[in-house]
Symmetry: C2
Subunit: 205 residues, 2 copies
């Protein structure tokens, strides 16, 4: 079954999906679409993703799946990167929801406000300060777990590590300093040393 | 195995968990904790939930699980409210991540700013306008799916319906008008008519 990934290369949410696909060794085709210039908000794109966001996974039978972490869970289903055991699986889910509610809206959004010129006007001092505090709290939560074990969920590397790695490893671009969080720095190194790891700029084929 | 739910009764995120537990007919004990007065940010509470939020599920063997949607998925594992089929399961996940990223931060947050006096100072006109637009977009995405089928994920009611019901059914308290979204209104009625449904104020025992 041929699979297309609608994506923006420098989006961490899209990088998550490429990272999971690379680890699984699965073939896929990339369709580049710019999420900053309104291209994901056109009627044409909304016909395939009503929420107007990337990434989106599209199969040649017409099925589509949105939400980066839902895509990661679907792709990893039955693989060594997603536990069968209900409790270990619950811990993967816990990290993925943490990522979308407490981590991405601070760490990824602050990066986005810092690096995209078209967003600079929204980067008020008050907002940037608030995002810095929220992002540091998210990093503290990660560090508390990673002080005691090598991977976010118990038992070995899972999609939780890939999905949290994406924006954490770019946190510096958003003005975050990881030095106060040594367990997070060591974990980043551990994730990027896994066989099959790919960098942000990697593309298939 | 005895299970405790650390929760705040009028929080939709906590209501999700009670709703799932009620539908499953599972016994649990409630520990009330106020998320607005700083009680979830104390060192004592952070020792059991480092992210300082409710709900939190705690088992008598010391295990804990945070994140409302991760709790719902764990509780419903193996039940009729969570599909085994990987694609149907992926669609449940897609809605749950949509809820935490695109729905709750608009619809629940606007309600919170509107109803809790201690948050009133943060309810600036600009912020309330922005949240109204974002919440209406989330309702539009739901309506587009629910125009074609009875439940959010294909195949019957799932935890996706319970988790999205929680804050959607209180959207009026946040100043949202559901009249422009008849498929959402009909779906709310459908969810609340399921046998085993409980209201926001329900408590076990």
């Amino acid at each position: 079954m041929a699979v297309k990934l609608y994506q923006q290369q420098d989006s961490g949410n899209c990088y998550k999906v490429r990272l999971v696909l690379a680890h699984l060794g699965e073939d896929f085709e990339i369709v580049d679409i710019n999420a900053n210039d309104g291209s994901t908000r056109t009627a044409e794109y909304r016909a395939i993703n009503p929420n107007g966001k990337v990434p989106l996974l599209a199969f040649d039978d017409g099925r589509t799946l949105a939400e980066s972490n839902a895509i990661a869970l679907y792709l990893a289903h039955g693989s060594r990167f997603l536990p069968d055991d209900p409790w270990r699986l619950a811990k993967v889910h816990e990290w993925l929801f943490f990522e979308q509610y407490s981590h991405e809206p601070a760490i990824a959004v602050r990066r986005s406000l810092a690096i995209y010129p078209e967003r600079a006007a929204q980067a008020t001092r008050e907002r940037m300060d608030r995002l810095l505090a929220a992002g540091n709290q998210a990093l503290e939560v990660m560090a508390a777990t990673l002080a005691d074990r090598d991977w976010l969920a118990p038992g070995g590397p899972t999609v939780a590590d890939f999905c949290l790695y994406a924006y954490t490893h770019m946190a510096g671009e958003g003005g975050f300093d990881l030095n106060p969080f040594p367990p997070v720095e060591r974990w980043l190194e551990r994730v990027s040393s896994l066989p099959g790891h790919v960098e942000l700029d990697w593309r298939p084929g």
